[in-house]
Structure formats: C-alpha cells, structure tokens
Amino acid sequence: MNEVTVFIMGKGYRVPAGLTIMKAMEYAGYRLTRGCGCRGGYCGACATVYRLKGDYKLYGDLACQTTVQDGMYIAQLPFTPAERPAYRLEELQARGETLLALFPELARCVACNTCTKACPQKLEVMDAVQAALRGDIPGVADLTFDCVSCGLCTMRCPAEISHHHVWQLARRLNGAYLTPRAPHVAQRVEEVRAGKFKGELDRLVAMPKEGLVAAYKARDIEP
C-alpha cells in the first residue's frame, strides 16, 4: 500500500496516501466527536491547521476536503472562541454603522491580508472586512456567501476580529432588509392562506400508507 507519514498533534503515523486529513485521523485511531460534521465541506466544523516539511507557511484547511501529504504536521481546531454580542434582528437597522456598532473591533483591521490567506473557501476575507468597515452590508453579504464559519481567519487575525459572526450579521441584515422581496412568494403565501392546497393536503393526510408509498413512487421527478 502506498503510505505517507503524517504527524497528528506531534505524533507520527503511517497512513494510506490519498486519504483526507479527517479519514487519516480516523485511520490513526482518533474518534472524532468534535471537529467533524457534514464530511462534505459545508459545515465548517473540521478546521485544521498544518505545516509541510521545509515550508514556513501555516496552512488552514477543512480536514474533510484536504488530502494528506507526506510530512504534514496537523492540528485540529475544533472550536474557535469568538465574540458575538447579543442582538435582535428586528431591532436593528440595515445601516452601515450597525456592523461597526456591534463589532467595533472591525476598526482594528490593519489590512495585513492574513485572513484571506487562511480561508479554506478562498474568500477575499480582507475585502469583506474592509467592506464591513465602511458599512457596505450587501458587499459583505456577497463576499462571504460561501463562508462555512470555520473560524480559521478569526484565529489568525492580529486585530482579533470575529469575522464569521460579522458575516452572519451582514447576511441577516441583507436578507431581512436589503434584498428585494420576491412577489411570487408573497402571492403563494396568500394562496396557501386562502386554502388553495387544502383539499389536496387533506386527501394526502387521509391516505393509507400503501397509497402514500404508491403515490410517492409515481411522482413526477424533475429532470
């Protein structure tokens, strides 16, 4: 078997080449109760930092998405302590100053770009911080749409900003107040209220199990 050596928390293991960091850890005998979720690159639970032999750079990546390399030094980051002040979205205004009022430490950014280099999703993290700093809520929402809240940027930032919480607030404000409403959704909600689908739903609720299964199998499947 083609194997590589990796160092997990400082201890060396021989693991099959081609495994993800997550699988390699499990192969080495770790049982992951934290730092592991979707295994598909979506949940951001598996933030991991590593270095490669002969390379000064500190890499950050998702353990479930990154293949092991020979001589990798690995440590998991199952949780990022980060500050998120309590707020009620209904009481906030979608104005530039809202982000800065809740996260004033945004003003500590020194534009070093370390966050961008740390992001496994390859987002322009510093640009998003800069947009937040100047109150551009849709800009932040846009730049951070693919953030998985892994917290790697937050751990690396010399300004001690809690990035992913800022992103979440910006996206919430953007979604709640700044994105144009979809009129057809409102229309459908009205139709539901008016009982347009009631008859059909009642019929399904009253149906015996066999009938339901048959109906499910015979459903139209979108191509």
């Binding site: 800065l100 009022a101 500590r108 700093l133 100047r134």
Partner: protein, 131 residues
C-alpha cells in the same frame, strides 16, 4: 513625579532611555528643557506631566514615565515637534512610551465605544490605545 532629582551615569545610560530613543527615532538628550513644547501643546492642561517633563523622565531613565497619563492624552498632533528649537519630535517620544507600555501590558482604560462612531475615530482610538 519624583520630587527629588538623582543624577547618575547609570540613569543616563539606562536601557529604558535607549529603548525609547530607538523606538521613537528621536534623541531625548537633545532636549534642553526650554518648555516650548508644553507651552504649545493644546492638551497640556489634561496631562499629569507636561511634555518637557515627560522627556525629562526619559532622559533620567525613569520608567515611571510609562505609568503617566500624559502619553494617552497626547493626540499626536505634533504641535510640540514643529516648535522644538532642538528638532525633537516629542509626539514620537510619546508614541514610543505608549507602545512600550502596551507591549508591557500597561494599558489605559479599554476602548468601549458608547455609540456608533465614524470609522476614522474608532480606528484611531484602537490603534493608539490598544495593544
């Protein structure tokens, strides 16, 4: 501030004075205590030691300069520096003291904005007053 002045070679060669000089790029020993800086400083009324007195403490190698409030009240407006007949930019000395204090863990009251501030104010406050 010390009420009694003790002059000694050790004080004059104190690593503290050298460190302040290194960080600020300004020679504290150039100052001959004329006080023009303090006369022109728009913030002197709010300081516990006048700019020339701060410089004096540095000359004497007296680290109590790090616990003064004066450097935290200094707004880096450089009114002192443009007036100094000896060309000392005291604002830089003040910054060196702030930076040394912050690096040693001596901080002024934490920056806790009480309302939304323009970015420009917050950025300045965090940069000057937090480690």
């Amino acid at each position: 501030m010390a009420s009694e002045l003790r002059l000694s070679r050790a004080g004059l060669e104190a690593p503290f004075a050298r460190r302040v000089e290194e960080l600020s790029g300004e020679n504290p020993y150039a100052c001959y205590q004329c006080g023009k800086c303090s006369a022109g400083c728009p913030f002197a009324d709010h300081m516990d030691a006048l700019p020339n007195q701060v410089l004096r403490l540095v000359q004497l190698g007296d680290e109590s300069a790090l616990s003064l409030s004066a450097p935290w009240v200094c707004a880096s407006c450089h009114a002192c520096g443009v007036r100094c007949p000896k060309g000392v930019d005291i604002a830089r000395t003040m910054e060196a003291l702030r930076v040394l204090a912050l690096r040693k863990g001596i901080t002024p009251a934490p920056v806790r904005p009480d309302r939304p501030y323009p970015q420009i104010a917050l950025i300045g406050a965090y940069r000057k007053l937090t480690p």
